[in-house]
Symmetry: C2
Subunit: 522 residues, 2 copies
């Protein structure tokens, strides 16, 4: 464990480049100096709450200035930040609050209702609750009198900065502990790959309670670069920012990039946009090809909460020749693909990584930590392969694997095929229990709006008989899609059922939640 010390990052940044813009949104801008002053005030307000040393403080935040100030404020105190995903159910959040031994929750003002429900959920499960949960909104916090205490102006890289619960595609959520060192090394690794310019500006449209968003805040103060803050991801607004606000870097997931491209009137973005960092798992080939055709510098990347965001990213010189690859492990990191305790090449296996940006383990969960780590390497549970030159290709999340009649089926493979069909906008594939085969793949599909309109048109044309007409149409389309797959995939991979839906279940960072698909059938 590293025990190097360095100055508080925001304090240092405000000292080095006080006048540079730190954060900016549609209404306001704030320099590093101003941000630091605000953070120090808020740190002293939090201190007035009579917090304990090394206390874990839970946060329910949205992407706005007060939240960013609060995150930096807490780095001035001897506390750990527990980031709560605002899209989870009160019961799920109550679990995390208890698991992390949290007794205080600070929330963005709009989450008052959710906070009430979390408290209720905590009380219902109170047998396990170690503390009474105290809650305060950022607005209330900002009215408190500052407490005159010495702030922590020096940090130890080994100290835990944050706990973030993994979305946990299966099983109980686990609190990933991320040290200051993990965040710093992640920023360094990214910088050594992407380079760094004083005029860089990173667009933040991913939630800051996810490591993908949080890591942008970290990079901002470490690099001394501006962030353009978006409260939510809205393709049109993001495009506006990219076209008009000198943004040079943005982090997105596939579906967001697709929406951006669909919304973009121009052929491309200004050449000042030098990196579209595309993460969140498997990426459809068609999206990469369209980006390439439109000269958009998409850098595919692979990372997870446990690696403090990116750990594998394609480097600039391989954007074209290695299209489809997530690249190689960043400078301080290492990667291998394992199958049955053997390191393999050119074959699909489990992605295993190592490096100073990787978590030292799960919060108070020795068992999960032991299961995930072997000799300093973390077994990610994700599937991929490396080619002869060491480039990683993401295949799937392991837990999504459908084993059917002894054959392995990767949902993403079927989804990729279906996405090339002209009527399909979004698709999610999962496995359904089957007496004969164990599991069989089924596909959930959102059809393109144009197609919907056609259906609606048909429905309107046949008012007396609309249900039947609609059913006939979708049944026909389902058959067409199965036929389409049958022409492109092994027979056992053809979805046994096609279910049409209005939207697919996604998490806060827009990652498809395949495990939730089956709930659509109930």
């Amino acid at each position: 464990m590293s025990s190097e010390t360095m100055p508080n990052w925001l304090a240092k940044r405000a000292d080095l480049t006080p006048k540079r813009i730190a954060i900016e949104n549609e209404e306001e801008k704030m320099t590093f100096k101003e941000l630091n002053e605000q953070a120090k005030i808020m740190a002293r307000q939090v201190a007035s709450l009579d917090i304990e040393d090394e206390e874990n403080i839970a946060l329910l935040l949205k992407n706005d200035f007060p939240a960013i100030i609060l995150i930096h404020a807490l780095a001035y105190l001897d506390v750990t930040l527990v980031f709560l995903n605002t899209r989870l159910s009160p019961k799920e959040l109550a679990f995390q609050v208890q698991d992390a031994g949290v007794k205080r929750l600070i929330y963005a003002d709009n989450y008052e209702e959710l906070v009430v429900k979390i408290n209720l959920a905590c009380q219902q499960e109170k047998v396990n609750l170690k503390f009474k949960l105290e809650t305060i909104s950022i607005k209330q916090l900002s009215t408190l009198k500052e407490m005159e205490i010495p702030l922590q102006t020096e940090i130890n890289l080994a100290k835990i900065h944050s706990i973030i619960y993994t979305s946990g595609t299966t099983g109980t959520p686990k609190g990933v502990t991320l040290s200051y060192g993990n965040h710093f090394w992640s920023a360094v690794g990214s910088c050594l790959n992407l380079g760094l310019d004083n005029n860089d500006t990173w667009l933040l449209a991913l939630p800051i309670f996810h490591v993908s968003g949080l890591s942008i805040l970290m990079r901002s103060v470490i690099y001394g670069i501006r962030i353009v803050v978006h409260e939510n991801f809205e393709a049109q607004k993001v495009n506006q920012s990219l076209l008009n606000h000198g943004v040079t870097l943005i982090s997105v997931v596939s579906i967001q990039l697709q929406k951006m491209l669909d919304n973009l009137k121009q052929d491309s973005y200004p050449s000042s946009l030098r990196c579209v960092l595309l993460g969140g798992g498997f990426v459809p080939r068609s999206l990469l090809e369209e980006s390439q055709k439109r000269k958009i510098p998409v850098f595919q990347t692979y990372g997870m909460t446990e690696t403090a965001s990116q750990i594998v990213t394609l480097s600039p010189e391989y954007l074209t020749s290695k299209l489809g690859s997530a690249g190689k492990p960043l400078f301080p990191a290492q990667l291998k693909i394992m199958s049955k305790d053997q390191e393999i090449i050119n074959e699909v296996g489990e992605i295993v990584v190592k490096g100073p940006s990787v978590t030292k383990g799960y919060y108070h969960n020795e068992k999960a930590t032991k299961e995930a780590f072997k000799e300093g390497w973390i077994y990610t549970g994700d599937l991929g392969y490396v080619d002869e030159e060491g480039f990683l290709y993401i295949v799937d999340r392991r837990s999504d694997l459908i084993i059917s009649g002894g054959e392995n089926i990767y949902p993403a493979e079927i989804e990729t095929v279906l996405l090339t069909h002209p009527d399909v906008e979004e698709v999610g594939v999962t496995g359904m229990d089957d007496e004969k085969w164990g599991k069989v793949p089924i596909a959930f599909i959102k059809v393109k709006e144009s197609k919907n309109r056609k259906n609606n048109q048909a429905i309107i044309d046949n008012k007396n008989n609309e249900d039947i007409k609609y059913f006939k149409d979708t049944k026909l389309l389902a058959h067409q899609l199965q036929h389409y797959c049958g022409e492109r995939l092994a027979k056992y991979k053809v979805p046994t059922r096609i279910i049409f839906v209005e939207s697919l279940p996604r998490n806060a960072s827009n990652k498809l939640l395949r495990r939730k698909l089956l709930e659509y059938l109930n």
Copy 2:
């Protein structure tokens, strides 16, 4: 102490960007892939020498490809590199070899004679020599059969990479231990200040046995950037490189920059040259002003062997407004000015620094380590002050301080004044014992060539009487210079003697050695 691990840097770099040029000189170029292959071959050749684990290997190197390959080769073995300054006397080198417990020395082929002398000196002092010194040239080494051993493909940041003896303005030289972590953090700190571009190219004209040169090799593999290698510093050749070879960064000391400017026919360098990193202590204001006038992006910096090169550097936005300052401590570092155990501002005191790039101590010299460190801070012995905004101004090396009649005199202050005189090219000031005042300042001056020519002219014109004429001329000039100082400095600061010399004593990195000036009087 950090115990983070990461891949061998060159191996990693060769994996990430194999085709980029790593090193280049007038004759040849080598990619990172080629450099890595060569380094691995040489590592196996060194291994055939039957070296021991954790052995300290001494190196007498010049700035060429074989030396760079060797340095990277040794990182593949479990050894520490002891860099010898090729300009030291055999006796001084014999001391270092013994102090570091070295039993093997690898040398560039042109140093054969020096090696014989070192061996002789070692034998003369053999009472202290723990081992018999075995020596081998790089040429001989490269004919050896490779030994098939597993190379060290992973490094621990806490491991000592190098030992470099400090030039030691006074007292016995001390071996500064620098870990892989020290070098890495130094590279990170520099990058967070200067930014990083894939097309960056660093010109290396400083000796690689000094930390100023060695750190460029480190940055090259960590950043993935090209180095243009110069065997020595020659102003004209350096200018040629800057004008024609796409160099974006160069490290120099004052006298080198002055020579470059004197030699430069054009007004400035191409705008692609984005940083002239100017280190090595006090910098004359006139040089900075000339650079600014000629639009040359000079970044003043402060560092020492103990800090693995730069630790304080001016940031891009303050080049103009803080001209003359060495800037602020790099992102991971901290600085304070101490006087009589008090931290002071706006007053001259000792420069004290802290950070992950700072050595953990002197090799096998607990006493010196204890003397230099206090609570994690290293007391540099150098003098400077910080202004209200925290910008550092270097005043002098403390050991050069002249105390005259109870008044402090900083040689650099007098030198700066003398350098502004039209007839002065170089100047060194030091203190001479004086019965009345304790010490008095005296100045050693190299006059401008044009002035010399005039003198020579005068001598030729008066053949019969040349000695007297010459003496008259210099005596006159000496009086003029004392008068010149008297007009600009307090009376006690005016040099009591002016001695004209052909060159000033400088170390391998061209730093003025004031302690050697007095030897000119013998």
